[in-house]
């Protein structure tokens, strides 16, 4: 279960969250909202990549910043820039080495990414970069999967493949998206960002 307890985050020009307390026990959650409403920041906080000014964020009662939880969380977000100097295959090898997992290319095959494994990350198209980002989030079989606008840039086939992969995913799934029409998944809870910002 992902929990935010009295979380505050302020940027010099705006307060993003003020004393936010939110429990997400549901398996599949979608966070909706307009561009710039704070969805990505919420995911970044949930992944422990952005530190709140105050408050605590925990997954299964442990801080999301703990090393143990790093292995249990997977994130795909445009703000998490992948190293462009690797080829895709090199990055996946590196990622698996760091997470001590075995590289399984089945998902790459499903997403139609196999022809691009030898392509340098900097040379990937937007859609293929998105697929690679999804692969890095999924490869180490996380218990909590955080996806930011996962359908952006994906073609129909890749979107179907992604929906199939996510349907089989057994951990907690939290998706942030401004457009849920392209997601054929059923969600246990849909939370508008407006509501979250209102709560905080």
């Amino acid at each position: 279960m992902l929990t935010f307890t009295a979380v505050s985050l302020r940027y010099p020009t705006a307060t993003i969250f003020n004393n936010l307390t939110l429990n997400l026990p549901e398996k599949r959650v979608v966070i909706t909202g307009e561009n710039g409403s704070g969805k990505t920041t919420l995911l970044m906080l949930a992944a422990g990549l952005v530190m709140p000014d105050a408050g605590e964020i925990a997954f299964n009662s442990q801080p999301v910043t703990s090393q143990q939880n790093k292995r249990r969380i997977g994130i795909s977000a445009s703000k998490v820039a992948l190293p462009t100097f690797f080829t895709s295959r090199e990055l996946l090898d590196f990622h698996c080495h760091m997470h001590q997992c075995t590289l399984d290319l089945t998902m790459a095959e499903q997403l139609g990414f196999s022809p691009f494994l030898q392509t340098r990350v900097s040379d990937l198209s937007l859609g293929n970069y998105k697929k690679l980002s999804l692969l890095t989030a999924l490869l180490h079989e996380p218990d909590l999967l955080l996806l930011d606008e996962p359908t952006n840039g994906l073609d129909d086939d890749a979107r179907h493949a992604m929906n199939a992969i996510l349907s089989d995913f057994t951990g907690q799934l939290i998706i942030a998206s401004h457009d849920t029409a392209l997601l054929s998944l059923s969600f246990d809870r849909e939370i508008p960002m407006q509501h979250i910002r209102g709560v905080s």
């Binding site: 990549l49 998490v80 190293p83 100097f85 690797f86 590196f94 900097s122």
Partner: protein
């Protein structure tokens, strides 16, 4: 706007952009630039002076020529995209111009961009030839050749190197490995033979098909991450290597030409510059880390471990460069002690304050000078 003006504008815009972005290219080298700028401008002129003197020993001549060619090549390669208008390649190719017109404009722009390195030796050659026209006419041809050959050879080689910088891959054998390997033999061979072989190697190297060396499998995890980042940005690596080579060549030429006391003092000064140059590699590595901080933080590795591995990587990176300094054999034991101590101080300075790290080796150097 005329075609020439268009090419000139493209070149100037490129130069502006390059000057703005060089700060991100190799921070350590850039921090040294303000201090080294007057010396940098003087270097080609000093090298020309050494090369033009027919009494210069072969070793001194070859070292000066090597430094001059390294500077020339680096100078042109940094401006290459501006000279060739590469960012506007497709638009440029679509312009209704003859091949001759394009080539002449490129040649003129190259001379404009690399004036010191092209016009310098040519002008010196002409001054020497015209100024001594009486002697040239009265003395035997062999005597004239002896006087003018060194600077004429420098002119031809610099033109060859500029051409390579613009249109060919990096002449790693001709400009780096070859001269480095033959360094101990340079004093033993006649100047004309050196020039002919050098020119031949520069030409022949381009005929060898390009190949890629495999990465050592020994490095895993974050060390490999940093290594791959360096390989992808080979220009930064080359810039640091070339800067070190030029420093070493300057040290060698200068220390051989002055008395022992001055040579020892010059050695200390070079130790300082080399320590900062090598130590500042850590800045680049930390910059790569900062660029990918979100991704690295998503991995199960603490920030402390990330920084520790950055320090280890930048130290491993320095080992071949330290071996290069050893190969030149210019330094005595006290120079080495100072170099290694300042290297450590520079790294510590970077870890404490990336912005003002230079204060640390400067203060350490002043203390060392005051104490010893």
């Amino acid at each position: 706007m005329q075609y020439w003006q268009f090419r000139l504008t493209v070149y100037q815009r490129h130069l502006e952009a390059w000057l703005n972005t060089i700060k991100q290219a190799a921070a350590g080298v850039v921090y040294l630039f303000p201090m080294a700028m007057p010396a940098l401008l003087m270097l080609p002129l000093l090298a020309l002076g050494v090369m033009a003197d027919s009494a210069t020993s072969t070793q001194q001549y070859c070292l000066a020529l090597w430094g001059f060619l390294l500077l020339t090549h680096s100078w042109v390669i940094l401006q290459k995209d501006g000279i060739l208008a590469t960012p506007y390649e497709h638009y440029h190719n679509g312009l209704p111009l003859s091949t001759a017109q394009r080539k002449v404009t490129t040649a003129l722009l190259t001379v404009y961009a690399s004036h010191v390195f092209v016009a310098g030796p040519i002008l010196l050659f002409l001054i020497m030839a015209i100024g001594n026209v009486d002697l040239l006419l009265t003395e035997p041809v062999s005597m004239s050749l002896h006087q003018l050959f060194p600077i004429a050879a420098a002119c031809l080689l610099s033109v060859q190197v500029i051409r390579l910088a613009l249109f060919s891959r990096y002449p790693i054998i001709g400009l780096i490995l070859g001269p480095l390997m033959t360094l101990p033999l340079l004093g033993e061979v006649a100047k004309p033979l050196v020039i002919i072989v050098w020119s031949g190697v520069l030409f022949a190297e381009q005929k060898i098909p390009a190949f890629r060396l495999g990465l050592p499998l020994l490095l895993k995890g974050l060390l490999r991450f940093f290594l791959q980042a360096d390989i992808a940005q080979a220009n930064k690596v080359m810039l640091r290597l070339i800067s070190l080579l030029i420093l070493l060549i300057c040290a060698q030429v200068f220390m051989q030409a002055v008395n022992l006391d001055a040579a020892i003092a010059a050695g200390y000064l070079c130790s300082f510059f080399m320590a900062v140059l090598l130590g500042s590699k850590l800045l680049d590595t930390l910059q790569v880390k900062a660029q990918h901080q979100f991704y690295l933080d998503s991995l199960p590795v603490t920030r402390t471990t990330q920084s520790t591995l950055a320090v280890i990587y930048s130290t491993l990176y320095c080992i071949p460069l330290l071996a290069l300094i050893l190969w030149f054999d210019s330094f005595n034991l006290s120079h080495w002690v100072l170099l290694l101590a300042l290297l450590v101080v520079t790294k510590v300075g970077i870890l404490l304050s990336q912005k003002y790290f230079l204060i640390f080796p400067c203060c350490a150097a002043i203390v060392a000078w005051w104490v010893f």
